[in-house]
Amino acid sequence: MSLTPSKLLKIIFGIGLFVILCIGGFTYRHLNSLSKTNEVIKETYTLRSELDNIISNLKDAEVGHRGFLLTHDSLFLKPYQESKQKIENNLARLDTLILANQSQQLNLDQLEIDISKRFVIFNKSLDIADDKIILSEDILLLLHEGKIKMDRIREDIAKMLDYENKLLLESQEKNEQAIGVTPLFLYGILILTLILLLMAYAKINDDLKILKDNNEDLQVFKKLTEQAEIINNSATWIWDIVNNKFEFSDNLYRLVGEEPQSFEPTLENFFSYVHEDDREGFGQQVNLMIKKEDLPFATYRAVHKDGTVRSLRAYGKLMDTTIGEKFLLGVTTDISDDVKNFETIEERNLELVRNNKELSDFNYVASHDLQEPLRKIQTFISRLETKESENLTEKGKFYIEKIKSSSARMRMLIEDLLQYSRTSNSDSEFKKTNMNMLLEDAKQELSDSIEEKNAEIISDSLPTMEVVSFQIQQLFINLISNSLKYSRSGIAPKIEITHQEVLSKNVKVLEKSLFKYHHKFTFSDNGIGFEQAYGETIFELFNRLHGKTEYSGTGIGLAICKKIVENHHGVILAEGKPNLGASFIIFFPFLK
């Protein structure tokens, strides 16, 4: 799992916060323990002073007691009485001070017992002193005993003080121990926090810089988009589906003929610009959009306030954000020009199709229907020839011969025309065919004239290609018969057919071809040839280079060749040298 920058920041801040809380907790604990120690010290001092007070009061009592014993003056008894009272107060205060400490309590109990014992001795000696003026043996004894008791009391107090001192020392030691490491610890943590905060600051600073850069990029991108929209005649919009709010780009307003942001971007407002006839369909599209949250291409017309009608096409795609919001992002394009162009092209296409159909119908019907009367003329002539020839004069027979050759020529023309119109049939099927076989078939078809002319045909091994076989066969027939027809008298025709694969870029006429390779077929003969100036016109319909009487061509054969080659996306060229021969070069594109 990789940490995103924002996650890292959160972690750093979390650690920082935790550290600060720790510092607070530690400080509180230490201050607390300090004030506790203070309390202990204060208590100890109060205790000590109370103990001192007890000693001092006891001494006062002793002084008063001794004065009375010496003088029997009751004046001395007053401080004695007072100090007794004071000691009781002192003891009571001590008792509350050491309430929590059991061992001190025990010490205090001992002290109290000893004090009360001392006072018993005081009282005894006072009672005896009341009766006798001089110091008796008993009193002396009692005084002695009183001194011992006093020592005991001193010991008790010393013991308590010792204990208290020990307590104070312990507490102090503990305090010092605790407080001793605290500053260092706090300081360390503080430094650590500072480092973390500095790191966080650096990170935030970096992020801010990136954010700023991104923002700038975004601004540039926005400007670019705006420009692109204007140039492309397109616009963008955002539909916040959850809150049903829209955002229209400036150009969307322009597409409906308004100033940018000139009305509130709502569906209702936009709807008012949709062509009346398209509103229902557009509404359905919008409903579909809400349901499916995806918009296929919706095409509708927008009407500007000045009455201009434009064709628009909208497309929308849903974008789910991580925080549960749904946006439909849309692009609307003005396709009026495309629509217009499409309509024009469609119209032209229809016209072309119509024209083509008419032409080929006319061609076919003309050729076809012309054949019937011609056939009858020819048949009747043949009847005349066989049945009535003895009744005809020589002149009559000559005329019949003329009619015969004319009608034969007409038949040839009609048949070639028919062939030509059939060649334009574009729905012919392209099939993989072995060209050698087509050439053999063509030779078979022409076998009579080949034999008659004693012609020699040499050919390379030809490839297999995707062609309309009957057309290619016709092409071969036409080219070979062309060579046979225009042979030089007295020289047996020799036709060479070669094949090679060529790179299109190496051939001038193929430079613009989209195909990389072409098959090149060359049909060369040793016939009468032609002037190279006629290299192109030779392929035109009804174009003939020779008189009808010399050579019996119709001027359609090579036009058919050209048409067949073009049907196969190829190119045909003619090269001729008068009295040397002619070459027909054909290029057919192919994929390797």
Binding site: H368, Q371, E372, L374, R375, K376, Q378, T379, S382, R383, T386, R411, R422, F470
Partner: protein, 148 residues
């Protein structure tokens, strides 16, 4: 064929063609009887009413008024009664479409009307003397269109 004569029917709307056809048969040395019909309807009425033997050969022009040769061919082939009838298409053109369609519909041979009387005689004698039993079995697209 162990009959005295060969029974031939021709449906063609062209009087000249009928003339050539009958003359050609007259000149052939085969004994024959030719019945001619001016259109498809006339032909079909004749065939439907026929009680006796079917013609040995039916020559059918394609381009006829009222009912074309193609329609006649379809009707004949749809009727079991005429299943043995040999049908030769006899038409001015030999467009690929027509040749293909009549082949598919079940005609036995396709003849393009020759433009020479001698050739016509040759073609007709060829068709009449063909052993149709054998020819029908080996019939294919290539030998369907008669070439001489």
């Amino acid at each position: 064929m162990n009959k005295e004569y060969i029974n031939i029917a021709l449906a063609d709307d062209d009087e000249d063609d009928i003339l050539f056809f009958t003359e050609a048969f007259e000149e052939l040395r085969i004994k024959n009887k030719v019945s001619t019909f001016k259109d498809g309807i006339e032909l079909m009425i004749y065939l439907e009413k026929l009680e006796g033997e079917l013609p040995d050969l039916l020559f059918l022009d394609l381009n006829m008024p009222k009912k074309s040769g193609m329609e006649c061919l379809e009707e004949i082939k749809a009727n079991r009664k005429f299943k043995d009838l040999i049908i030769a298409i006899y038409s001015t053109s030999s467009s690929e479409e027509d040749v293909e369609n009549t082949f598919v519909l079940g005609a036995n041979i396709y003849i393009k009307k020759p433009n020479n009387f001698e050739k016509l005689k040759k073609v007709l004698s060829e068709v009449v003397t063909t052993n149709w039993q054998y020819h029908t079995n080996s019939l294919n697209k290539e030998n369907f269109l008669l070439r001489l």
